[in-house]
Point group: C4
Chain length 216, copies 4
């Protein structure tokens, strides 16, 4: 494993640029699924209002996906902000994470179209759980397996971030199991969980030495 | 609020790269909505000319959206040009701004297809107003709440840019209200407003020390 | 004009990143227009071969557009390589250039579908001429109006690049006029012209001091 | 040839940013081909499950394309990591490589839809072979023809990477020939070959001086 992955030290600039491109495309492509409605007949105004109202789930799905992807982007930004270099293993774990992330628009749209179908609710949760597992493992690899972190950072901060990161896939997996009991419960958890990770942890409040933490 | 947002000092490079990606995709995706017309029958030449003429609103919508998004890009470029760092709050305010910005192609296309419908004209104005509100608040946060600005910049320049920035959402909101009186008046204002922000303010004419203002 | 454009000195990094995003999206979106053919009936193999053969103009259009956009990208890369900074005027001239460039896939597809129609051939030429005019004017602005060029570069190299750059829109405009005489002649010129600009000029062979020109 | 290509020394930053954009768009666009199924009738649950199952080849195609493009991205990252500058020839060889790479989604989707058709299997292999030929020639150009490599790197490492790189198009071409014997054999090889290049070579395990190879 060592010879396969923990090799080829390189700066993190290009892995960040590539990921930023993928993140930017995902959030923007979501709008492509929203088409101007075709309205015909005598009552154009009424027909248009009715069509737009019927598109409400699509708008909500757009906002939900956008927020979820942005939360991942902020987490990715924070993670790479404490790394001092990357290696081949990090490239591939990042690729694996992006594989699930780039796939998210599909199960999100599926759940938006079939909110009452168990297969759609389970599908969405499975993909987000896999994204969360990949991200958590990427963090574990960077923090402990390949030691890519800036040494000046307090180890307790790393541990606290790691523990919070492990919670993410675990809670998503529980939401998937809940979907077999009650789909609405699972969907509610899908919406609450990102909010939980919206709140910054201790490491994300970390300020590099030389900067003042309190901007007076 | 302090612990949630004004934390995690970091350089502005990645937030700029991510935003540039989103901006670049939005202006390019607009062309995707323009399809080569299907022409059949005996008079291909006449049918093609007729189809292209009928597509004129689509071409105008493309140019309008392109110009509007570019004006936002230039403003974003200027804003981040005076910042010396970013933080978690700036990331999220930027994400909120991008949420509305990335959505703009939809109401623009809607208004292009239904220029006479109030719901379309009001919809376009509402989304651009929300984008303007987000951008203005991001500027306020960066200038005053989280003090992310390069200290060498004259405070009067910041204040002048802030005041101009507040005008933007206010005037857009007025245009939305006008749409309830006369849709054409609102559309006219939608076209005039970006031109107003095309003209650079004092801060945008700011030259960092070490550079000469007059190039010659 | 001075107060509107030759203001706001800034590095060229972000204008390059934004343009690279647009270039990258344009060349990649071209493939989106190529769809897997729907084949039904008994003779799948024959039907598929026939469908793919019928798609030949689409493949050629893809390659032509790709090469044309890449030639622009290389020219853009070379132009910005000799600039030491950007300003507001350059941002807007670059935006104007990108407006035409991002539009190119549409007239290219139109010409691919209707190679015998004058309106399609004239349309393609008009858009490429406008892109060439914008690019040439952007060069003129950067070289002479706003003096954004690295001073160490020989003025004769700039003049030679400027003259070659002026030829580009002129020859494209001639090709458009030729389309009114014979469409095939115009198309031939559309294919030959990019090849002419594929050959590097003196400025593009320029090597910054400190680097050796001959890589021995 | 010298005057055409081995001119215009420049940093590799912009060629990397442009390529990253293309890579990011390709892997993300692949999802666009996966649409939420339209399900009607009484048994929505059964119909949805059935539709999703029927989409299995599309999901597999997505994962295969994603992995193949990521392997190219990692190889590209490693190649440019050892270069100290770029030139006009490298720009154009990179463009040629990107031309084939950006085209890969089409033959991949074609093979996903028609796995039993020789023309689809041969088509996929031909495009990947052309991508491999371009990439190998780009490496040869950078290593030997234009000498763009950081001089501190051991020439034996370059030679070893070069030899492995030559294997890639050769093996892909053999897979294409196999497609004329048995399509399934060719497809199997298409899946095995990327895995072979997933394993890093000696050069990719290279650690720049100043960095320690063993992190711990």
């Amino acid at each position: 494993m060592y010879r396969l992955f923990r090799v080829g030290k390189m700066p993190t600039t290009r892995i960040e640029a590539f990921s930023d491109g993928v993140f930017a495309i995902i959030i923007t492509l979501l709008v492509l699924e929203i088409h101007v409605p075709q309205v015909q007949g005598k009552d154009i105004s009424g027909g248009l209002a009715h069509s737009l109202l019927a598109m409400a789930p699509k708008f909500l799905t757009y906002i939900l996906s956008f927020v979820v992807v942005c939360i991942w982007w902020v987490a990715h930004h924070h993670l790479f902000g404490v790394l001092k270099r990357s290696d081949r293993g990090l490239l591939w774990l990042n690729n694996l994470f992006l594989l699930w992330l780039a796939f998210i628009p599909f199960p999100t749209a599926l759940m938006g179209d079939f909110p009452g179908e168990r297969i759609a609710v389970v599908g969405y949760g499975t993909v987000t759980t896999l994204a969360a597992v990949s991200f958590t493992f990427m963090r574990y690899y960077a923090f402990y397996l390949s030691k890519l972190v800036d040494e000046r950072i307090d180890r307790r901060l790393l541990k606290s971030a790691m523990l919070k990161s492990v919670l993410n896939p675990v809670l998503h997996a529980i939401a998937v199991l809940l979907a077999f009991v009650d789909g609405r419960l699972a969907i509610a958890l899908y919406i609450i969980l990102p909010l939980m990770f919206f709140i910054p942890g201790k490491l994300e409040r970390y300020v590099p030495s030389g900067e003042t933490g309190s901007p007076s």
